[in-house]
Symmetry: D2
Subunit: 304 residues, 4 copies
């Protein structure tokens, strides 16, 4: 993460100071950018203002910038700040850029691309991989897509929040598709590990030793270590990423697959599992609880 020389910092509006956004915005400040921050509940803005951010009382105020970054929970939240008389589209200067880091649907990314183009603005999708701790440590992975010059111009912002950027091309929505597919792959790791753990666990194999074996051999990746550990310990609270958000993402993957006419049976199975998890009261558990359903169906305790 390079600190920009004096004077090259960007003027960045930042909308959405949740678990992920607050770390990202703080890292933009650290990297020398000017940050005008807006959040629906203002307490989070105050915390950031102490670190040098300017508090924006409205979305429109945060749009008085070269680029406005939005980092929100879902499509509905992004639509709420983007459209309408005082939203981003109505407020952003001509030629300025909306960089969306939220995990949103492919369809909404397409709508945002069109709406900003109609308004003479630029839209770039730049969703990120990483949990809140990675956001705080500027170790996210950024997946960016949009007009080449706009993406290049955002590189200092990407560098401030992440450890590496992958640029996909000119169509913003492909970045969202890739982000969603990544969450699908994580969920499929959770489900598969859950089935394997249910199997060997019922045969009396020690789960921690089993995971040690897996992650020492063919499965030595963060996804297996992180979610395997949570699963083996049955540790689903507090949620790093809640089950109902996991369901949302797999729904968006399936919607993208439907639009492209791509059947994804593992994604369908995961969706059904999430519904069973929610129906059983697990809405706010960590999404890794998905993997505990296999043991439940095998006669074990219900997760949560």
């Amino acid at each position: 993460m390079a600190i920009p020389a004096q004077g090259v910092g960007m003027r960045i509006g930042f909308i959405g100071l949740g678990n992920m956004g607050s770390g990202m915005a703080a890292n933009l400040l650290t990297a020398g950018h000017e940050v005008i921050a807006y959040n629906r509940s203002p307490a989070k803005v105050a915390a950031l203002a102490e670190r040098g951010a300017t508090a924006a009382p409205t979305v429109a105020a945060a749009c008085a910038a070269d680029v406005v970054i939005s980092m929100l929970a879902d499509d509905t939240a992004v639509e709420a700040v983007t459209f309408g008389d005082h939203g981003i589209v109505a407020s952003l200067p001509d030629g300025a850029t909306h960089m969306s880091s939220s995990t949103i649907s492919v369809a909404l990314a397409e709508r945002l691309t069109a709406a900003h183009a109609d308004a003479g603005q630029v839209f770039v999708s730049a969703p990120v991989f990483g949990r809140p701790a990675a956001a705080a440590a500027a170790e996210l992975f950024v997946v960016a897509a949009g007009p080449a010059s706009a993406v290049a111009g955002l590189q200092p912002a990407f560098d401030a929040v992440g450890q590496r950027t992958f640029v996909l091309g000119e169509d913003p929505h492909t970045a969202n598709l890739v982000k969603l597919s990544g969450n699908f792959l994580i969920a499929s790791v959770i489900e598969s590990l859950g089935e394997a753990l249910a199997l060997v666990g019922k045969a009396g194999v020690d789960k921690q030793q089993y995971l040690e074996l897996l992650t020492s051999t063919l499965f030595g990746a963060p996804a297996y270590r992180t979610y395997g550990g949570l699963l083996a310990r049955g540790e689903f609270e507090p949620a790093g990423f809640a089950a109902h958000l996991g369901l949302k993402d797999v729904r968006l993957v399936l919607a993208a697959g439907e639009q492209l006419e791509v059947p994804m049976p593992v994604a369908s199975l995961i969706r059904d599992r999430f519904l069973a998890l929610l129906a059983g009261g697990g809405r706010d558990l960590d999404w890794s609880a998905l993997g505990a359903l296999a043991a439940w169906e095998a006669g074990g305790p219900k997760p949560g």
Copy 2:
């Protein structure tokens, strides 16, 4: 891999010199063990004899040893050399050990445990993780289970063929269950990656770049690199591990799950996919072709 001091080498019968077994037997010789080798087709024995092995004309001849290791393709092959008037059970000395490294069913491991115990012999399951290149390089991972003293006594053999050993406990069949579950997890990686690649590929995302992104972030594990690469390149011949053997393993996982009353829906889905692959003529393709069915169902070409 430690070279044993002069005189501590074991006298080891070795049955099955296929892609995996020939590398393992050669490494036992290199480590200073005496190897009496048997193979159904004798040409492979001759090659090993040039490196110092003794050629055994029959299974019974290979059993004149402290331990006999079997490394064969499936249950049927293991049953053929184990039972019957001239098989391992009938031929092995009192107190000697049968170490089975084949990927066999949990049920057969249980039968072998009982049969050897009845005959005053010892049975140890020691299946391995790794493809033929890893077997040749003595870089396998050994998963061992059986009576503690027998397992301890086999450590020099494990060290000769592998880079690391995981000892699971006293029940041999748990090692087979863990091995099968590992193959299930690999197959689930192939299937999930196949669905994700079908999705982003149909949207025009470059598959190699996508894999680079995945393996640089949350999925930086050999399973993703190896099988993702084969899938992205559509490179299914020659087979490192054939589709019909992949089907066999997932069938054994499901059988183990049925015995333990553990539903494994992802395994069921993979089984159905393998059947479609075989029905389409893909029996001898690499099992990674499993992952190409998602793109086929999405309107792309049939694998193979």
Copy 3:
């Protein structure tokens, strides 16, 4: 179907003269009701006008009635005629009833219920079971839900179009849920029969004889006869109900299941199958082609 006595006929607006609606509207005329008909393409209105209907040039004109019936293809079409400045909500008299016979989502039924209540009007859901021939013959089954007095008042209309009415209760959306679940059950018959036919067919059993056996014994229901026959003959054109509409309905079932937190794995599987059918070019085939995918995956020809 009772012919009402002179003078008791209702004044009915009818919106949507497609395959189903034209037959229903004609039967309302036959039963002695006054029909004011609107259709997006006016040619169909002219045909009905020859049988005594009044042509309505606009949706609003068709709303000058005691009850307006809408029978359209999907949510989008119903929304288009219902909302907006000249839609049904804006045009229907105080206290009049909107009877919706379209197969729409549960969510839209809830929105329509609320919108009409806000406007001082009444909303009744009355979707129907039956293909176009049954609509023409007044042999539909009507599933009705809504305020009891309104439902009772509509009985002459139900009698005019159907052979039997099932009244579910006061919540209109439950009728839509039941209708969607019925289409799910039909699709599951198609899929299951498709798998069974692929199995016995590949073993050389004659498919027609097999169906004769099934429908003579435990499966002697119209769903098995109709769809089994189409499947056994591979007769998917012309479509009685197109595959893309089948996909729409299973999507709505899954959406309803998601709202209620009810996993429906067979519905998920059917959705994936429909996507494969569409991706393979089968969008406009009869939805029974869904059942031909099992034989395709078993090495047979692609449907369509």
Copy 4:
């Protein structure tokens, strides 16, 4: 059911007097045939002897006949009476016929065909559709396959136990395949109905009314009435056909599908459901309890 003229009755050995077999054997007596009955537990033989049967103390004794009919629970039971020194193959006269009405695997039917041919005997598969009450009432449906002259010669026996016979051809195992596929179709009705009932039930629709609607319209078949009724009432004890036998049959269907390379995803799903049912303690419930798992996953009570 025609009563044969004096003197034309056959001399029939009957092995297996369970729920199904006792009714069938009684009807053979009623129709004027001579019955030599064997059962593992002799109490059931005594009951039949009172109605005119000859008690056979051994399997071999029951084989002193023109035809021996076996009606047993599974492959293991049929193998036990067929093979070995005192089994049917060893005991049946030259040219006599073994008619197997048990629901057995396709693979076992093939073995039996070969074994009887080798012994100069004839094998005919004649599995039946119907529950115990239908067996008692001589209202079974018989599905027969085998050498044409042998099948023709058995017609009086078929007529004595059933209401109708379907003759499939010369390969006995096709009859077993058709029988298994029929049980698969019943199980798929149970599963699909279970999902639909979970959906509409959670929305507050009355289940009995819902079933009345289904069976009055497109689903007016015995499979829907019988299993729908059990499901709607949650009436799973006593079992007409136990869950673990349902699991056995779907396993045999899947095995047949594997041999023929026919993927059957609905069958796979049903297998997983049965495992969950057994793991939850439902082994001896009626197999219709399979359909209650959907409501369980949707947050309802566990069946059993």
